[in-house]
Subunit: 141 residues, 2 copies
């Protein structure tokens, strides 16, 4: 079983978002397990991250890529990290240079700014898409 950890500040208050995330977690559940860590603020998030052996920082100034390239990168990442990946979603002020420097990959979802809530959903949909691409399913065409 692949294990993905998502570290994102703040609780998920919106009912629609809980439903959407649950839907993608369910679809992923046969082969991938998601663990959510919700530090209460960005300072606590910055304390938690150095405990991770590896993490991908979602960062507006990071590498941007298409879904196909992300799928390949993520699968390779699982191979190289014993089927583990940690994603960190920063607050409105982004990550400190130190946090960014220690990340394994800095990934920009889009030049647009999204809410943290929407970022969580986009991330999960892209992980699901990445797995479907690797299975050559018709989900991604």
């Amino acid at each position: 079983m692949i294990k993905v950890k998502v570290i994102a500040s703040g609780r998920c208050k919106e009912e629609w978002l809980r439903m959407a995330l649950a839907e993608y977690e369910k679809r992923l559940s046969p082969f991938l397990e998601i663990t959510w860590i919700h530090p209460k603020d960005d300072a606590q998030l910055a304390d938690l991250l150095p405990q991770e052996q590896q993490y991908i920082a979602l960062d507006p100034n990071g590498d941007s890529m298409g879904s196909l390239e992300f799928s390949q990168k993520l699968l390779k990442y699982f191979e190289n990290n014993r089927s583990r990946a940690t994603f960190a979603i920063g607050g409105p002020d982004g990550f400190s240079p130190d946090i960014l420097q220690k990340s394994t990959l800095r990934w920009s979802l889009s030049p647009l700014t999204f809410t943290h809530q929407l970022t969580r959903l986009i991330l999960l949909e892209q992980i699901y898409r990445a797995m479907e691409i690797s299975k050559k399913s018709p989900y991604h065409k």
Copy 2:
């Protein structure tokens, strides 16, 4: 009142998406009215678009921009088009060259591929963000 039309193939089946779209429509409702047009397929969408005086095509090969730039472009767009904007969300095969050529603007949300469902939500959140940016509210920071 600003009027925005969104032309997107297929019905919105997911309950969470209906809730999320309703939330952003409600937030926008004091100053902006959204009309949804759901052609049954891409062929019907291609028939409808030429009836629009102007439209913005959401296209993976279109211009990409940050939320600030989009806000400025959208506000200018409303000024130049009597407070009207039409957005077209294409199917998995994208738009025909003819449809793209006649569009007022080709806009790429991200190099990533999203579902049509998620595209609708991202679009609405960006329109809301654009309005909040123009009001200098703390929503976008």
